[in-house]
Subunit: 189 residues, 2 copies
């Protein structure tokens, strides 16, 4: 089997994350990122519009996978069962690269209030994508919004556990996290 070989996009993401953690996000230029990745600035700009976009890499993909899993869930699936299918669909697409880079991404985001704001907006965007897919299944607005929030929380929790070495596969961790959240709902009162 050939050794896993990152493509240009992944090389830029990896180089950028290393530089952001070493010298800070604000202090890092696109030229430095390209240099570290062993690629050119013009190749960088074929993949990303700016350095901030490097950190958003994969977020739209994730939203699309959540929505696809929800949309293709069996017609009689409950809202939370459809969300579970969405999480499974996204989990199946996560690679060793995602698993390794997750914690480093978190650490970089924690250093910048601008990046924290972007991260919050991305999280809200993912919830909105799930919520819309649920409403398209005929789920009412508040139920869809709540199920989507639980889905984002479950995925975040499961991904953190997986990134820190827990479990072999991400999918069962997302299912377990969603089950725990569902059980916690009985404590709402």
């Amino acid at each position: 089997m050939p050794r896993w070989k990152p493509d240009a996009r992944e090389r830029f993401v990896s180089a950028a994350l290393h530089l952001f953690s070493e010298q800070g996000y604000d202090e890092t230029t696109v030229a430095q990122i390209a240099d570290r990745a062993g690629l050119t600035r013009s190749t960088f700009f074929r993949h990303f519009t700016d350095k901030r976009e490097v950190l958003a890499a994969g977020q739209e993909t994730l939203s699309a996978l959540f929505a696809e899993g929800i949309t293709t869930a069996p017609a009689d699936a409950t809202p939370l069962a459809a969300v579970a299918a969405g999480l499974a669909s996204a989990a199946a697409a996560m690679t060793p690269f995602n698993r390794e880079l997750g914690p480093r991404l978190e650490a970089v985001i924690a250093t910048s209030s601008e990046l924290q704001e972007r991260a919050v907006l991305k999280k809200v965007g993912m919830a909105a994508a799930m919520s819309e897919a649920l409403r398209n299944r005929g789920v009412s607005e508040p139920v869809a919004a709540t199920a989507a929030e639980l889905g984002v929380l479950a995925f975040k929790e499961a991904f953190a556990a997986w990134s820190s070495g827990e479990g072999e596969e991400l999918a069962p961790l997302t299912a377990a996290a969603l089950d725990r959240l569902r059980a916690a709902l009985t404590e709402l009162g």
Copy 2:
């Protein structure tokens, strides 16, 4: 009884919202806002750091009121009962000025993606304030996060109904909205 007389802060907010809707957010300057309010630029800068902050006026207050109501709820209140107390605390502080300006604020926000992002971040900030107040009562993280989300949804829904002329008082509308959301949870599956 004296006629309700807005203070400088409210005059700036009202003037800014009128100008934003008439000529656009980007095209409006602080000088124009001060002029319309019949006050000076230096007075403006005693109240706000920039024109964007005019739109955030009251958000921190709202977060603080939510948190205060949750913190002072009876010790044996369930998480959702504590959230209901937080909503009641905020509802009691809303004035005719808030009621009138709410829809205009929404309309202005809808015209600018920058303002939409700020609005999303403010909403997340309010949920975080409620969630923290709940965790300080010993509520576990996922239950606190979910209860807070439901609280923000309920307040938003109730405020929109109140602003559009429904009901005399905001507090009972928030309680009813939260009850509806709680009932909808049974449909999650």
